[in-house]
Amino acid sequence: MALLEVDRIHAFYGHIHAVKGVSLQVDQGEIVTLIGSNGAGKSTTLKTISGIIRPRQGRVLLAGEEISRLPPHTIVARGVGQAPEGRRIFPRMTVLENLEMGAFHRADRGDITADLERVFTLFPRLRERRTQAGGTLSGGEQQMLAIGRALMARPRILLLDEPSMGLAPVLVEQIFAIIQDINRQGTTILIVEQNALMALSVTQRGYVLQTGEVVLEGSAANLRQNELVRKAYLGESS
């Protein structure tokens, strides 16, 4: 049984039929990407999984249990952690307070020091800046904080929405390397990404979304070789 199963969902963004019957699966321990150009429905799919948008049809299952009718905060509590699009860190809270907010819904509050240590080991920059206000961090540091904050919830699956957005190429590489480390440490990850090349180089499998439908799926290695992907997303002219 897949850890996360998206079963033929249809979702609307306003009046736009943004997701037209998308199905995908993520197994325990996997790292999977959902790639596609702007407006392909990637973020809408992710928002449907996290409960911000209700699907008109179809279901989302977490470990076999339907979560698509639950409110967003309950979905987080069930173990779907997320670093939302645009990072969304709390600008006036310190780095440490932001990370503590990540553990908000957890009952075992005594135990968060171990998770803090884990996040600080993954992102030494955050340890240096832990007393600084989130809003004063650079873009890359804010992305690190958003990922670290999501990890503080000890999610069963981590959803990352465009982690490369607005970052310099060096930083993108650095952040994706850490994402890969997080996966190796046992966290299941689903990344939505426009930067297909980067995403396919760190993930195991991928889905290609086009105008709200999955047009291709397969192992990351195969997708990297695929003619359509190369032309459309990897910027190769034939």
Partner: protein, 379 residues
């Protein structure tokens, strides 16, 4: 590691003040005030009673506006509901078939106001900023009007009088027992400060802050937005409710004109002037504005008239600061927004320090997160 733990503990306890000394000083000054007033012959103790009640009101509104970031323009409505609840439960002219003592009325006033907070909040807190402000504005207008028009029960514009008095260990709380009233209100105020600071440092308090900072992020932390906001609204309303019941008993009279829009605005000004989100700032802001309203405007006018007579300048005699109160509050707010937008004593979250290496300059952080463009050039 131990440093982190220590820091965690500190976050739980401290609410943004570097030391507790100023708080102790303020408490001591308040405690000896009746003695100072008597020694200096200031005759301000009578005015201090409503001033302190207004501070409790401001503390309650600070939960809604400062902590949860919800703009409530009809806060006086809950004050009215608390006052009328006390009147209905204790006044001999009340239409109810039973009466209670003052203390029960105060506690019931607390819960009735809370209930109305939930009734108003449940359908409206799904609305965003501006819409919520409009709905609360309307609510603030409707409530006094309802009390005005339910003449058969409330006496309409004639108001309700008398109202039950508190009894405590044989101490009298008559209209002239100002010292007894003063300490009663002070104790209630101190309990409110204690309760609100516990709320601020609680899980709920952190949820309020997160929702105020960024609601999308708060939701993805597993915070229930509607429930969190509703609790802020209900808690804010309840503090206003019991302040209202004390207000009614203190003046032995309630009528709808005591709860007009200008009261909501006055309390909001106290919160903004003092520093939204910082309880001690709000106390100071409340004391300054309310004492200007109740004491200084009057005294300054007399003083200016005295000077006018002495130097024979009729222009000075025509000045009446009590009529210009709202103008002066407005001016003070405009100046404050220009020079110190975070309030006199900003909350810690609002006075963000930049890099420690960059010196201790307090940087005013714009409210939104840096845009993608800015972030990209920084990153």
């Amino acid at each position: 590691m131990s440093e982190e733990t220590a820091r965690l503990e500190r976050i739980g306890v401290s609410s943004g003040w570097r030391s507790k000394a100023p708080v102790g000083l303020l408490a001591a000054a308040m405690a000896v005030y009746p003695w100072v007033d008597a020694r200096l012959g200031l005759q301000t103790l009578g005015a201090m009673l409503p001033i302190c009640l207004f501070v409790v009101l401001a503390l309650g509104l600070n939960i809604v506006v400062g902590y949860a970031g919800l703009l409530d323009l009809g806060y006086a409505a809950f004050f009215a509901i608390g006052a009328y609840t006390a009147a209905f439960l204790t006044s001999p002219i009340s239409p109810l078939p039973f009466r209670t003592d003052f203390w029960s009325a105060m506690i019931i006033g607390f819960f009735v106001a809370m209930l109305f907070g939930v009734i108003l909040g449940a359908p409206t807190l799904r609305l965003r900023g501006d819409y919520l402000a409009i709905v609360t504005l309307a609510f603030g207008e409707i409530v006094p009007r309802v009390f005005l028009n339910l003449e058969r029960w409330t006496g309409g514009s004639r108001g309700m009088n008398p109202i039950g008095r508190p009894h405590l260990f044989g101490v009298q709380f008559g209209p002239s027992d100002r010292i007894a009233w003063y300490y009663l209100i002070l104790i209630v105020g101190a309990l409110s400060v204690w309760a609100i600071s516990r709320l601020h440092d609680s899980r709920l308090g952190r949820a309020w802050m997160a929702v105020r900072e960024d609601e999308v992020a708060a939701a993805s932390m597993g915070i229930d937005l509607v429930k969190t906001r509703l609790l802020a609204f209900a808690m804010g309303a309840s503090f206003s409710g019991f302040a209202g019941s004390m207000f009614a008993s203190l003046f032995q009279f309630v009528d709808p004109s005591q709860f007009e829009f200008s009261i909501s605005i006055l309390v909001l000004c106290m919160v903004i002037l003092g520093g939204m989100g910082n309880m001690y700032g709000v106390i100071v802001g409340g004391i300054i504005l309310a004492s200007f309203d109740r004491i200084l405007a009057d005294r300054l006018t007399n003083w200016i008239h005295g000077v006018g007579k002495a130097i024979d300048w009729p222009l000075l005699l025509s000045i009446d600061l009590t009529n210009a109160r709202m103008f002066i509050f407005g001016l003070a707010l405009v100046l404050l927004m220009l020079f110190r937008p975070e309030g006199m004593l900003p909350s810690r979250q609002r006075q963000v320090r930049r890099d420690r290496e960059g010196g201790a300059v307090a940087a005013r952080l714009p409210r939104p997160v840096p845009t993608e463009h800015e972030a990209a050039t920084e990153g």
